[in-house]
Amino acid sequence: MNYNVAQKHIIHQRPGKTPNPMRLPELDAILADINRIILGKDRPIRLSLACLLARGHLLIEDLPGVGKTTLAHVLARVLGLDFQRIQFTSDMLPADIIGVSIFDRESGAFHFHPGPIFTQVVLADEINRATPKAQSALLEAMEERQVTAEGKTRALPEPFFVIATQNPTYQIGTFPLPESQLDRFLLKIELGYPDPAAERELLAGADRRQLVADLVPRITPQRLIELQNTVRAVHASPALIDYVQTLAAYTRAAPRWQEGLSPRACLALLAVARAWALLDGRDHVLPEDVQAVLQGVIAHRLRPTDDDARSHAEAVAAALIEAVPLP
């Protein structure tokens, strides 16, 4: 099958060329800032921001050293959010993430010491290294946006955004996230190696850390919440909802995948597509938006039956897009 056409249009399309009244300059500025530091990764950056705007969490599956930490850091910086990094290890316990109550001798009572999760942007590094118990502590916090420790429920800060990374290769000694847990990530993306030009610029350019440190927040957390609400208001016409539904129906029945997209996955698809449309300055979702984010939404949700396809998430998404005509 020839996927070239599809890929070309998903990846290289720039629907934003036409002027749009909804265009929000602050979002453009944010994207420009991040693109200045992480070079040649316009698409993953855009997806990450869309994920954040859609109030979802991001899963990055990639090799170490391609800039995952930098991405998380830069996002937090530009958006004016707190940032914490948690390195997951096999001996990590839920308390290491959530926090512990320690007996305070002076007051004679237990005092809760919040864990690293109590921050606005969390980078959960190598999440599949930790035991399922530790993983589920994080994932439950992600889902509920609150933490229950020692019988007390504590709300997590708003906005709350988790970027988790996991190693792509199947290694002995890892605990792959179960599918039900994977579903809690709105998007799964890969950063990949930079292209040669970008890599050269990276090598020749200034120190990334310094650049990050020099960044100034473009918006306040309050404004970010407003933007998140704007995303929810982006219009999805009946024709578009039909399209999402047809896509899901196709995955549910076609033999290419082991299971189809769940209703939650459809909602995720619609949510990210809305954010993508907003990033493009539109107040309504187009099929192009859905197609652009489809790969990220289905990458960790659809398991192809054919082994060869596993390594070609792009090809799988393109095949799905081409199989389903617009309603």
Partner: protein, 326 residues
Amino acid sequence: MLASLRRRLHEIFVRWALRVRPPEPAPIVLTQRRVYVLPTRAGLAYGAALGVMLLGAMNYNLSLGYALVFLLAGLGIVAILHTFRNLVLLSIRPGRCEPVFAGSVAQFGLLLESQRPDARTSLRLFFDEAVPIEVDIGPHACTATTLGVHAAKRGWLPMPRFTIETTWPLGLIRAWSYAVPELNCLVYPTPAAKAPPLPWSSDSARGSARDGRGADDFSGLRKHQVADAPRHVAWKAVARQQDGPLLTKLFSGAAAQQLWLDWAALPDTIDTEQRLSILARWILDADAAGLAWGLRLPAVRLAPDNGPAQRSAGLHALALYSHGAH
């Protein structure tokens, strides 16, 4: 004699009716030209009853009798249209089809898609002579259904021709069509009921190494399994979480013992199918025990691993094993 003639005529009709050389490319759209309509037995009885009623109306000069007969005749015509419409322009796509073991029933998934703004009701799908499956399809909806057929032999089982018919709404008229979607079911060899024990290689005599993993370098933790040696339990990690499961320390090393399911290891007296059966049984046993295993066939070699992917890869190889590969 008569029955066989009828069957042959039916076969000729079906072949003419299908027109396309099966299997057909997806999606199969049941166009007007491939949907056939004939009265059912009830429909014939209905027609005969109308004839008798017409005679009665004529004989007694019953104007209302004429009107009734003509109304019912119109109803019959309308029923033709409704029945036809219930089936026509339905599109059929091949759906999913999970591999099965020979001797069980292969379930061919079908995806029935209706572009119509109102529902399609009581469509029956069946293979020749088999019990039909009844499905409804909502407006603009897509319904998945499966049709089972007995899988006798290992290998690829192409989906046989099936009939889709409907007598809705009045049961007087039957509209039907045939389709052969391009869908194949992988049939694994039947696992042997009696098989020799798993063929451990002769140098893996130590029972403690039977988990198929090494014992040299710590490489991680995983959930404790009954077969794990007690000395590999990660007591420290277990102690940290009060009610967690037992964890086993994993070690990797060159010395790890591996289970090879080898075609050649079986005595020559066993014929091909029997061998494949035994290998299938071994794969199931090894998989159930959570062991890592490798497979050696005359032309195929599968590196040791465990998990569902390994299991399906192994069975896949067995299913498609051919004599020519010797």
